[in-house]
């Protein structure tokens, strides 16, 4: 079930909210309601994978429990290994087989395993908990609360990646506490903004960029076509993913829960390091805390720093998808971060406009690599962008690209909106309600379009 589908907006979410507040008086009862609706939400795609989700949660919790009883770290390592094994099997097995086949030149069979939706997100949350246990930084939670921390449906499929200590303590807070109407109101506003960004812009931009990237597999694009594809996807990806985050934060707020921030208008960044502090923040934090710093970070010499950055960003790329183009995208950003770090250490900052332009060019080139079906297509699109196939043509749908750019740059992030003092006038509420209604009517036109990050 997609957040922007009519069945979710008009039936599932209202029903879940009513059931939740009907049970609000009792913490266990309302938590069971959230678990039940989260399982329904997850099973909507493929009920078979409920067993995988619950199995990984139960296994991780049991390993943590055994560790608490025995003080042996082995169960925690086993839990981490099992979560990684699940991820490797369902997401990377065929990729690994194909890569091995390419290396040894011998045809290998494929597993053709279906990818369980959200596996990258819930596996990472479980791993982060087990690692925190290793660091003596995580208590043993009751199973009900532990399960809910992982499977809470607003963040289950595509994040934000939530750490246990950010969410579990909130479960005992009465959702009817002071500020109830403000949380619901802000939640509805955030959801509506995300809804509109997804339905009215991101999906339209997909219609602009997707055919061009598909066409680029067969024949080179022209200069303007390549830039249309690159810019279209650049704005589509941000609007799509940030829309999901805003909807997730909005839904959670209606349940009285606060999810972490994931974006802070990243396309305004004036350096690549700043970009990564503003883009997919929950993943950046995860990579920093569980990969980059354990690998040495920046405090053990230049060589260690370069290694830690490249490994962390390469794995960050691989997390996004089972393909070498994703790894290359991660390494591209790793190299960029190293160069940015080196430049900044010279203490000769670029003018803000130049820094912004350079950052955006770097990011856009990276998105071409990220989006293209293979290296040949990426190279072809990048060559066209550089004028390798002439400089003719005109940008496709410049109005849509401009709208994408304007909304990406100007619409505040979820937390910025939450912190703002909105005009509490009924006309404002009515305007947001009309916008939400228009989005409901728009998605009624045909099958809803998946969020890009659902495939990761």
């Amino acid at each position: 079930m997609l957040f922007q589908s009519q069945e979710f907006v008009l039936i599932f979410w209202p029903a879940a909210t009513l059931a939740y507040y009907a049970a609000a008086r009792s913490a266990p009862a309302r938590q069971y309601v959230l678990i039940a609706v989260s399982l329904i939400f997850y099973g909507w795609w493929d009920a078979r994978f409920i067993a995988l989700l619950v199995g990984q949660i139960a296994m991780s919790w049991i390993m943590a429990l055994v560790h608490a009883r025995t003080r042996s770290a082995a169960p925690l390592y086993a839990g981490i290994a099992l979560n990684l094994a699940s991820l490797a099997t369902f997401k990377y097995l065929d990729f690994l087989l194909a890569s091995l086949e390419g290396a040894i030149g011998v045809a290998l069979p494929r597993a053709h395993v279906l990818l369980p939706i959200g596996i990258s997100f819930f596996s990472f949350q479980l791993i982060s908990y087990l690692v925190d246990r290793l660091r003596n930084d995580a208590p043993i939670y009751p199973f009900r609360q532990f399960a809910l921390f992982v499977m809470l449906f607003p963040h289950l499929i595509a994040g934000p990646i939530v750490r246990h200590n950010e969410l579990v303590p909130q479960f005992d807070l009465d959702p009817r506490r002071e500020g109830l109407w403000e949380r619901i109101g802000v939640g509805l506003v955030l959801f509506t903004i995300g809804f509109a960004k997804k339905v009215l812009l991101a999906d339209k931009l997909a219609g602009l960029a997707d055919p061009l990237f598909d066409a680029a597999r067969g024949a080179p694009l022209g200069f303007a076509g390549a830039w249309t594809a690159a810019l279209g996807f650049t704005f589509q990806l941000f609007l799509d993913f940030s829309a999901y985050t805003e909807m997730a934060i909005g839904i959670a707020l209606v349940f009285g829960l606060l999810l972490p921030e994931n974006f802070r208008r990243p396309y305004l960044s004036t350096s690549l390091r700043e970009f990564w502090r503003r883009w997919h923040i929950s993943l950046s934090n995860f990579i920093r805390d569980y990969l980059y710093i354990p690998l040495g970070g920046s405090r053990h010499g230049a060589a260690r720093y370069v290694m830690a950055t490249l490994v962390a960003m390469g794995l960050c790329g691989l997390w996004h998808g089972a393909g070498w183009t994703y790894v290359a995208w991660g390494l591209w950003h790793g190299c960029g971060l190293i160069a940015c770090h080196a430049w900044q250490s010279l203490k000769r900052p670029l003018p803000a406009v130049a820094g912004w332009a350079l950052t955006m060019l770097f990011v856009i080139v990276g998105w071409v690599l990220f989006r293209a079906a293979d290296f040949a297509t990426a190279a072809s699109v990048l060559r066209s962008m550089a004028g390798g196939h002439g400089f003719g043509g005109a940008l496709g749908d410049p109005g849509l690209l401009l709208a994408g750019a304007a909304v990406s740059a100007l619409v505040p992030s979820a937390y910025e909106i939450k912190a703002m003092r909105p005009v509490l006038h009924p006309a404002v509420a009515g305007a947001f309600a009309v916008l939400a209604g228009l989005c409901v009517l728009e998605v009624g036109r045909g099958p809803a379009v998946n969020f890009i990050y659902f495939r990761f």
Binding site: E182, P426, G444
Partner: protein, 335 residues
């Protein structure tokens, strides 16, 4: 103490404002959509005739995937043409004149067997007096994919039960269609042709320039197919089985430019031949029914003048096919 009272007052003030904000949002959102929903059900934007309505019949939308909901239940017709763009140039008016039946066009561009069969079931369900079915098939009918995926923008819920219809009717597209229906009812917009004929050739330039090269000789092989299972044909058996034996069925496989045909002796050619044989076998014993095969190599398929592009024939060929169909169905009874 006073500060605490101020805070308390502000919080309560905020709560009241936020409460009003939320309730306004919900009232506008829920109330607005409810009003639109009821209006759409009453206006019946696609003229499906499911529920009582004050609206006169009429087709609101030029897209065949939705306007077949109106055409398919129109009692003015008792025979229909199904298929995609490969059947679209067949004129219902000329077929009606030649056969004495009352034909309607139910083709939908880009569609495949799943869509065709949906339209057929719908038409059959609304026409107990059905007199004939004409089906223009292409190689999509010869698929071995048991899923039979829908191939084009398609709204199956329009042709299904009331529950599916009520779950899908709330959309901006339905609002546009409802507005057109109202405008038509008021006489402010012209009505669409109820028979559904759209001549996509007349008045348009056609610039068919086939690729040139040393092409191997082509033909249609007769060797058996490696895979004799054609899921679309198996599904079609369900429709034929419920159709009275007295209702004639004509299946046409329209021509394509010869370069589109599989090479003689190839697996694709064998597969196509087996599919054609299976189609023809489905009609064996049914009176005034036939499988008419134009998808063969020959002078017609090699003449550029006969084609708009590699796989769409032109009007003279449509006239020829219509004559063949009429020949199978028979001339109108003399009064």
């Amino acid at each position: 103490m006073r500060a605490a009272a101020d805070i308390e007052k502000r919080v309560h003030g905020d709560n009241a404002e936020w409460r009003r904000f939320v309730l306004t949002f919900l009232a506008v959102f829920g109330g607005g959509l409810a009003v639109i929903y009821v209006a759409l059900v009453v206006i019946d934007p696609y003229d499906t005739g499911r529920f009582p309505t004050f609206m006169p019949p009429g087709i609101p939308d030029e897209h065949q995937d939705v306007n077949s909901a109106s055409r398919g239940r129109n009692p003015a017709f008792n025979a229909a043409i199904f298929g995609n763009s490969h059947g679209q140039l067949l004129s219902p008016q000329r077929l009606s004149a030649a056969t004495g039946l009352r034909f309607v066009q139910m083709t939908s561009p880009g569609s495949g067997p799943r869509e065709h069969m949906t339209f057929m079931r719908y038409f059959i369900a609304h026409h107990p007096d059905l007199k004939a079915i004409v089906l223009a098939v292409d190689r999509r009918w010869c698929t071995h994919d048991p899923a039979l995926p829908a191939l084009f923008h398609f709204s199956p819920w329009l042709y299904e039960g009331d529950g599916a219809y009520l779950l899908h009717i709330l959309s901006s597209r339905a609002i546009v269609a409802a507005r057109r229906r109202v405008m038509m009812a008021l006489g402010r917009l012209p009505a669409y042709d109820p028979a559904g004929y759209w001549d996509y050739e007349t008045g348009r330039p056609w610039t068919f320039h086939p690729p040139h090269g040393d092409e191997p000789p082509r033909g249609v092989a007769t060797a058996p197919s490696a895979d004799p299972v054609f899921p679309a044909l198996d599904a079609f058996d369900g429709i034929l089985g419920r159709l009275p034996r007295t209702v004639p069925v004509v299946i046409v496989m329209p021509p394509q430019y010869y370069l589109m045909l599989p090479e003689s002796g190839s697996a694709a050619a064998n597969d196509l031949a087996a599919c054609k044989a299976a189609l023809a076998a489905r009609l064996a014993g049914r009176p005034r029914s036939a499988f008419i095969d134009y998808l063969v190599d020959g002078p017609l398929a090699r003449n550029n003048e006969n084609f708009m592009d590699m796989d769409h024939y032109r009007l003279p060929i449509a006239r020829e096919i219509e004559a063949r169909i009429a020949g199978v169905l028979g001339a109108p009874a003399t009064p």
